[in-house]
């Protein structure tokens, strides 16, 4: 019965907390747990900062300036405070953090299953299994590219890539490229690929327009100063909507350039509406481009108005004067259909967002849309937490600097939970008791093997 399962996957250890993922969020949590003297281990499928190493395109830089890059008891100390880290710099930054805080990371350890037991969770990995009271899922929000179902209808003669597969324009043949999605990702890819000499068509739905620098200050400075980044998940009108918002159209460059649809248009990128259909090699776009651009322009204007009012009230007289940006130019009749073959489109790139991967999480904590049920990171199962998702507890939650406040809140909750559990349900003294304990609530297949005995 259960002993057999335990033999199959040797016991790697017993620990109070298993943190899954050694990215910035998992490490930040580790720092808080260490400070509270909570026994824990971080299980990492690859290396520290794995997604930043292996799942981003080559030219990507952080969307946040260096001065904003900070983690609990750690931060950027270099000379270029207004710059934006390249991916190797991000990896070095996070790697250094893991060393500084002496994080108990087990690299090359892939979690294949987390299932509840009587006293906590059984965490199965490809290097043995762990038993623990608490699991913190810090495995990232951007694991699986979200490609709309109609993507399957794109003909095989066209190369399709997701933002996770894309590295550089050299992966594409020299024909035209259709990029779907106008978040930071879609715009950056459209910019880079059009600079490589390829014709680019960009399908634009709902989007968030922002200048890189406003009145001499980085837009992130404004979002921070206005309290927007600190807005809490339980204080916004519609949290489901806030969590689903695309990332603002930003790029981190040494010239601190603004990348918007007008800039792309000047470079020859053709803007079309949201992709709404694929039929017999023809792609259809929504007639709502003008509406989406007008909405984004309006929201930008409101953000800047809010900033100006704040600056005036706080007497920020050293700031350069306010300015407003030209409305997004939309052609009189944007294209509604694109014949992929006739227009020599060789590649379609889906920059349509990501979702987290919880295929390993065997705990009934998902809503009917497949989303994790949680209250600001406190998952709807005792002793289970999640980190790093969009707007988890605050608007900044998914940013590197957003981890700090979240892990302080959640580690406090976690410590309280752990204290109660330790008192009411101490770990058994003998290994056999563990087995009995786990068989009581283990998944069905264990019960089945028990019946065979």
């Amino acid at each position: 019965m259960i002993h057999e399962a335990l033999r199959r996957e040797p016991l790697a250890g017993t620990v109070d907390v298993v943190v899954i993922g050694a990215g910035h969020a998992g490490l930040a949590m580790s720092r808080c747990l260490s400070q509270r003297s909570i026994d824990h281990v971080i299980l990492e499928r690859g290396e520290v900062a794995n997604s930043w190493r292996h799942e981003r395109w080559d030219s990507l830089r952080l969307l946040t300036p260096n001065w904003q890059s900070r983690l609990p008891d750690y931060g950027y100390t270099g000379p270029d405070r207004d710059g934006y880290m390249t991916m190797p710099e991000v990896v070095a930054f996070i790697e250094q953090y893991a060393k500084v805080i002496d994080a108990p990371v087990r690299t090359g350890t892939t979690v294949t299953s987390v299932a509840p037991t009587d006293r906590g969770y059984r965490v199965v990995t490809d290097k043995g299994q762990w038993r623990c009271r608490v699991v913190v899922a810090a495995s990232g929000a951007n694991s699986i590219p979200s490609v709309p179902t109609l993507g399957a209808a794109v003909p095989k003669s066209v190369q399709t890539l997701t933002a996770k597969d894309y590295r550089h324009p050299g992966q594409l043949d020299d024909r035209g490229v259709l990029i779907v999605g106008a978040s930071a990702t879609g715009l950056q890819l459209a910019d880079e690929i059009s600079r490589s000499g390829r014709l680019v068509t960009l399908a634009v739905g709902e989007h968030i327009r922002m200048p890189r620098v406003y009145r001499g200050m980085d837009i992130q400075w404004w979002l921070d100063a206005l309290g927007i980044l600190d807005e809490r998940y339980d204080k916004v009108d519609d949290i489901a909507r806030a969590r689903a918002l695309p990332s603002p159209q930003l790029v981190g460059t040494s010239q601190r350039e603004t990348l918007d649809l007008n800039a792309l248009r000047q470079r020859g990128v053709e803007m079309v509406g949201r992709l709404v259909g694929v039929d017999a090699g023809k792609v259809q776009f929504s007639g709502s481009l003008r509406s989406h651009c007008a909405m984004a322009d309006l929201k930008l204007r409101r953000l800047l108005d809010r900033g100006d009012i704040w600056a005036k009230r706080c007497r920020k007289s050293t700031l350069p004067p306010p300015q407003r940006y030209a409305a997004t130019h939309v052609e009189d009749s944007p294209r509604l259909q694109l014949d992929l073959a006739r227009n020599r489109i060789g590649s379609v790139i889906w920059a349509t967002g990501f979702r987290p991967d919880y295929t390993w999480l065997h705990v009934p904590v998902f809503d009917r849309m497949g989303r994790l049920r949680h209250d600001g990171g406190i998952v709807d199962a005792p002793g289970l937490y999640v980190l790093g998702l969009n707007f988890l507890r605050r608007r900044k939650s998914s940013f590197i600097h957003g981890a700090e406040d979240d892990v302080r809140d959640l580690s406090f909750h976690l410590a309280t939970y752990l204290r109660r559990q330790r008192a009411s349900r101490p770990w058994p003294q003998r290994a056999e008791e563990f087995a009995e304990d786990e068989s009581a609530t283990a998944p069905a297949r264990y019960h089945q093997s028990q019946c065979v005995m």
């Binding site: 259909g277 929504s286 509406s291 007008a294 309006l298 009749s333 009917r368």
Partner: protein, 188 residues
């Protein structure tokens, strides 16, 4: 902003509480959110037809309008018709205009904005070489629709622009007109 104080004064004749209540209830019971809209149309003579609208399905049950609504459709005399009603394409404009206008009223009520007047003027271009089969490259339908709103409300220009933008975002007919829809036409 004192939203509760303004909400009491503002009256656009929209029961926002009921709408928000419905949104909450339907989030819990998504099956009840599945509606079916219906119309019938009978040919009269020439290009003249009479359409009716009365029953629909929603909230898990058959529903009915208070009365049966009737609409005459025809084509103008320059099409050698008798002009006994609006043309079908004009009904499309009516649908779009009334949907956006209803949305503006609802959003304004929810945001505590008092409306005094809302008027939409619509114009849609069409090259009838398409429907006449003169040029296969010309589509049958509109080559574009222009909607112009004149709105008098107790709100700033940007707040009014935000109302109009939000009503497009939540409009069924705006979606129907701007995005493809599968249409199955069968014979009984």
């Amino acid at each position: 902003m004192n939203q509760t104080a303004t909400a009491i004064k503002v009256d656009n004749g929209v029961n926002v509480e009921a709408l928000l209540g419905a949104r909450e209830a339907l989030t819990a019971t998504p099956e009840a959110a599945r509606f079916k809209w219906r119309a019938t149309c009978s040919w009269v003579n020439g290009t003249h037809s009479k359409s009716t609208v009365q029953s629909f399905f929603g909230l898990g049950a058959e529903q009915t309008h208070k009365t049966e609504f009737r609409y005459d459709a025809d084509h103008p005399e320059i099409f050698a018709s008798e002009d006994k009603g609006a043309t079908p394409v004009e009904y499309v404009l009516v649908g779009l205009a009334s949907c956006l206008t209803a949305g503006i009223a609802a959003v304004a009520q929810n945001r505590g904005i008092q409306l005094h007047s809302v008027k939409a003027t619509l114009e849609a271009g069409m090259d009838i070489q398409g429907i006449l089969g003169i040029d296969a490259d010309v589509r049958n339908g509109f080559d574009g629709i222009k909607v112009t709103f004149d709105i008098d409300a107790d709100a700033s220009k940007d707040d009014i622009a935000a109302l109009v933008a939000q009503s497009q975002k939540r409009s069924a007919v705006f979606d129907i007109v701007t995005n493809p829809t599968n249409v199955a036409v069968e014979i009984r």
